[in-house]
């Protein structure tokens, strides 16, 4: 088969905050230093910039200020400045406000943004620099020569659901580069592959993830002032379920409402999407949303393990930045600025290494040195144990978080976390295949006004895929029906926020896993949370996926 090839100096995989910051920094260095111009390309699986970008989001503008000092003049979409912070502990019927806002949750000087719009704007800045930005192309495989990264192969197009080539078949393109910067986001499929093939995670703790669900609402006027930021703990989660909610009031009566649950809850029949529904039914929340309209929905995993779970981020010919590396501050609930900062540093490192004529791991280690000398480490290192402390429950975690703030992170030994799915409990023997037909253990009423079933919600994610293509969720169904079903009752049906996994019945009643792959919103939760690691998320044909306009 004849494959097209493209050769560049720097290839950036993923056009989110990290990848676009890297691209922009490269362009800036290029114009500062002159010389033989470097060719830079960015590949992005979404149809257009920002379509797969989902976050709360409150933006700490520190990295933006450094990257684009005149961001206001350039029209950065950051209209809503935070003017009030509230933190509440919810009980089933009421709320208790924290008398003081814990320092990590103070948002003075930050902005409530739509990450979708922000990324779209960043992409415009990048394209204005003449950088090739290929949207609708998913990086499918890492190209390696021994332990050296030489580029990526993009996915084939025009393959039907049986794997046969359609008349429209186009083979993927091999893009080779001196340095490839992996910014493929949380649980990125290529970064996952790197961690499997190279000893990057040796001596590091396992990454710990959470799932975030979000809705955008239009609410009646005068409910809440734009610029108000609220976070909650407690109801509807039990103390052994980590998580909480956010409510961000934007201009034009838009309200961003979201719920985050640690992917380390013990009950396999717990459903994060139902927890979100229950949260919205709390009188405090329903009084904000009542008579409003849900206009968008989305879900995405987030890496919460912190400093000690970040793998080695440099290798021969490769760097990892942003969520792909786990650069997120779970205590501040923020990662966009760290993604931008690490992207920016990765761009600098790639530039220097190429100019020095040496893109080996030894040369690219400069990236780690830059991170260590930057605000990234200053911010993440002191809170490196906090998320792990929540493994002991909500109260232990909160107490530890307080200590960490007071001592600036001093603690005699580092706490150890485990991969979240290992905490899932087995169901009583013989009940697994029965419970899957029942509602989730935390099910609540669905009225399709305030609370929604997953199928309705997923419509508002705008997700669309080419229908006639192979499933992009590779599942070893043998394990699923013989082991995971009986032991855990098919938890994929619960943790997937988009109704991708369903247990259908054959005419003789035997359960059969049905995969509705075209519902997928690319959140990666299944790849993370499935207890036997038998689900592998690979990118579907380029341009498929959610459409997070305004999210």
């Amino acid at each position: 088969m004849q494959r097209e090839t493209l050769e560049v100096d720097v290839l950036i995989v993923g056009g989110g905050p990290a990848g676009l910051s890297a691209a922009l920094r490269l362009a800036q260095l290029q114009s500062q230093h002159g010389g033989e111009p470097l060719s830079v390309a960015v590949v992005e699986k979404a149809r257009e910039a920002g379509a797969h970008s989902l976050s709360g989001a409150v933006l700490d503008p520190s990295a933006l200020r450094e990257l684009i000092p005149d961001f206001r003049e350039r029209g950065a979409p950051i209209a809503t400045e935070v003017h009030a912070d509230h933190v509440y502990f919810l009980t089933q019927h009421s709320k208790i406000e924290f008398p003081i806002i814990p320092p990590p949750l103070r948002n003075h000087g930050n902005y409530i943004v739509s990450l979708n719009q922000f990324v779209r704007w960043l992409a415009e800045q990048v394209e204005a620099q003449g950088i090739d930005f290929f949207t609708g192309f998913a990086a499918q495989d890492v190209l390696m020569e021994d332990a050296r990264i030489v580029g990526v192969r993009t996915g084939d197009r025009g393959v039907d659901k049986h794997g046969q080539q359609k008349p429209t078949f186009e083979p993927g393109v091999d893009i080779t580069a001196k340095v490839t910067i992996f910014c493929d986001g949380v649980r990125g499929n290529l970064t996952k592959e790197l961690l499997r093939r190279l000893p990057l995670a040796v001596g590091r703790q396992p990454q710990q993830f959470a799932i975030g669900l979000k809705e955008l609402w239009d609410i009646p006027p005068d409910r809440i002032a734009a610029g108000t930021v609220m976070h909650t703990l407690g109801y509807p989660l039990a103390s052994d379920e980590f998580g909480g909610a956010f409510i961000y009031a934007m201009t034009d009566r838009h309200l961003s409402v979201g719920f985050v649950v640690g992917l380390d809850y013990p009950d396999p029949q717990f459903d994060p999407h139902m927890a979100f529904n229950r949260f919205k039914q709390h009188p405090f929340v329903s009084s904000l949303l009542g008579d409003g309209q849900m206009v968008r929905y989305g879900a995405k995993a987030l890496p919460e393990g912190g400093w000690n779970t970040i793998p080695r981020t440099y290798m021969d010919g490769g760097l990892i930045a942003g969520d792909a590396g786990g650069f997120l501050n779970a205590m501040r609930l923020k990662g966009i600025h760290l993604a931008m900062r690490t992207g920016l540093l990765a761009g600098e490192s790639a530039f220097e290494a190429i100019r020095a004529g040496d893109t080996s791991a030894a040369s690219l280690k400069r990236y780690q040195d830059k991170i260590d000398a930057s605000p990234v480490r200053a911010e993440l290192y002191p809170v490196r144990n906090v998320h792990q402390a929540f493994g002991g429950g909500l109260w232990a975690g909160l107490a530890f978080a307080g200590v960490a703030v007071a001592t600036r992170g001093w603690w005699p030994v580092d706490l150890h976390g485990e991969a979240g799915h290992e905490r899932l409990r087995h169901l009583p023997p013989g009940t697994g295949s029965e419970v899957v037909a029942q509602p989730a253990s935390n099910a609540t009423t669905i009225d399709r006004r305030l609370t929604f079933d997953k199928l309705t919600n997923v419509h508002y994610a705008g997700t669309a895929h080419e229908e006639d293509q192979p499933s992009h969720l590779l599942v070893q169904t043998e394990v699923c029906s013989t082991i995971c079903g009986p032991e855990y009752g098919h938890p994929c049906v619960r943790f997937c926020p988009a109704n991708v996994y369903e247990i259908a019945r054959e005419s003789d009643g035997t359960p059969r896993l049905q995969i509705n792959a075209s519902n997928c919103v690319h959140c990666k939760t299944c790849d993370i949370m499935d207890p036997y690691g038998v689900i592998t998320w690979v990118p579907p044909e380029g341009a498929g996926g959610p459409q997070y306009n305004g999210m």
Binding site: V295, R448, L455, H459, Y460, D468, N516
Partner: protein, 322 residues
């Protein structure tokens, strides 16, 4: 002046063209003159048909290079026609063909293009056009800006072909265009894949649609019997086509076809929003479902809460009596 672009193939006008004429009449409100342009290599009969219906002056545009549709050929020809006639509005049916060339035409002419319009408020130059946003969740009223012409494509089913007001026979003028055949970059091949009774559900007047409630592939026959008795096409919601019980081209909804028949009968369809967006434009919706809380009843004009395996045979019996 309003110019309607008729769509014909092999001398036959499609229903979407008549719907677009109905939209143009609403926009005109007897106030703005109307013309209809038809393109092809030899379109005498089509022009006659349009002229006989008396919907306004017919502009016949014939050229060898327009024998088969090509985006370059149609863009060049329509650009010439529009530039010589200087209409305020150009209305097109929102068909696959229009979707293919209209953006190019608008860009070449630096004209505004409002696509997939479902309704027109007001008339004449001050009209606003409703078009769906967020997959039908919102209807935005938009008004074109800048200088005429304004291109507007009309969603299939948004207007009804049978409401076209016919007048006394109109005149046919012909506008000649010279097209540089060498500048047409596309080389049309003979049509393929449409041979085997391909279904275009968007043209069906009656549809019987089945959902999960049908339970097994064998039971599809029950719905087919009903469809035959009614002279309806058979269609389905997503799970049925996913299971391969009916072919994909019969799927209605956000990942299938959008239809607006006169009558839509939903058998055992719960009415997930993904399905509703594909059929809520139907004039009359009849739903039969066991679950009284199913969302399909929120859009149904007539609903029967009950067992379709009892109700459908009874209905078929009555239909066959008629």
């Amino acid at each position: 002046m309003i110019l309607v672009v008729a769509e014909q193939r092999d001398g036959r006008l499609n229903r979407a063209t008549w719907e677009t004429i109905a939209a143009a009449q609403a926009l005109s409100a007897n106030d703005m003159p109307m013309k209809v342009v038809a393109l092809g290599a030899s379109i005498g009969p089509v022009a006659q048909e349009l002229a006989a219906a008396g919907v306004g002056e017919v502009v016949a545009t014939e050229h060898e290079a327009l024998a088969t549709y090509t985006p370059d050929g149609f863009t060049m020809a329509l650009r010439r026609v529009i530039e010589s006639l200087t209409p305020t509005f150009v209305l097109l049916p929102h068909t696959y063909q229009t979707r293919d060339f209209a953006p190019v035409l608008a860009a070449r002419m630096r004209a505004s293009l409002i696509t997939d319009v479902t309704g027109i408020n007001g008339s004449g130059a001050s009209a606003t056009f409703a078009r769906p946003m967020f997959q039908g969740k919102l209807a935005a009223d938009v008004r074109p800006q800048g200088a005429a012409p304004f291109l507007v494509s009309i969603q299939i089913g948004a207007y009804r072909a049978d409401t076209v007001k016919k007048g006394s026979a109109a005149s046919i003028t012909s506008v000649s265009v010279d097209i540089d055949a060498a500048a047409i970059r596309q080389k049309p091949e003979p049509p393929f894949q449409e041979a085997k009774q391909a279904v275009d559900l968007s043209q069906a007047e009656r549809i019987v649609s089945v959902g999960r409630g049908i339970k097994s592939q064998e039971n599809i026959a029950i719905a087919e019997t009903m469809a035959r008795a009614m002279g309806a096409e058979i269609a389905a919601s997503r799970p049925i086509c996913d299971n391969g019980w009916l072919p994909m081209e019969r799927q209605i909804g956000s990942s299938g076809q959008t239809v607006a028949p006169k009558l839509y009968v939903a058998l055992g369809i719960s009415g997930a929003i993904q399905h509703l967006v594909g059929m809520k434009g139907a004039r009359t919706i009849v739903a039969i479902n066991k679950d009284a809380d199913a969302p399909i009843f929120e859009v149904a004009d007539y609903g029967i809460v009950g067992d379709l395996f009892e109700i459908v045979p009874a209905l078929v019996k009555e239909l066959e009596k008629a």
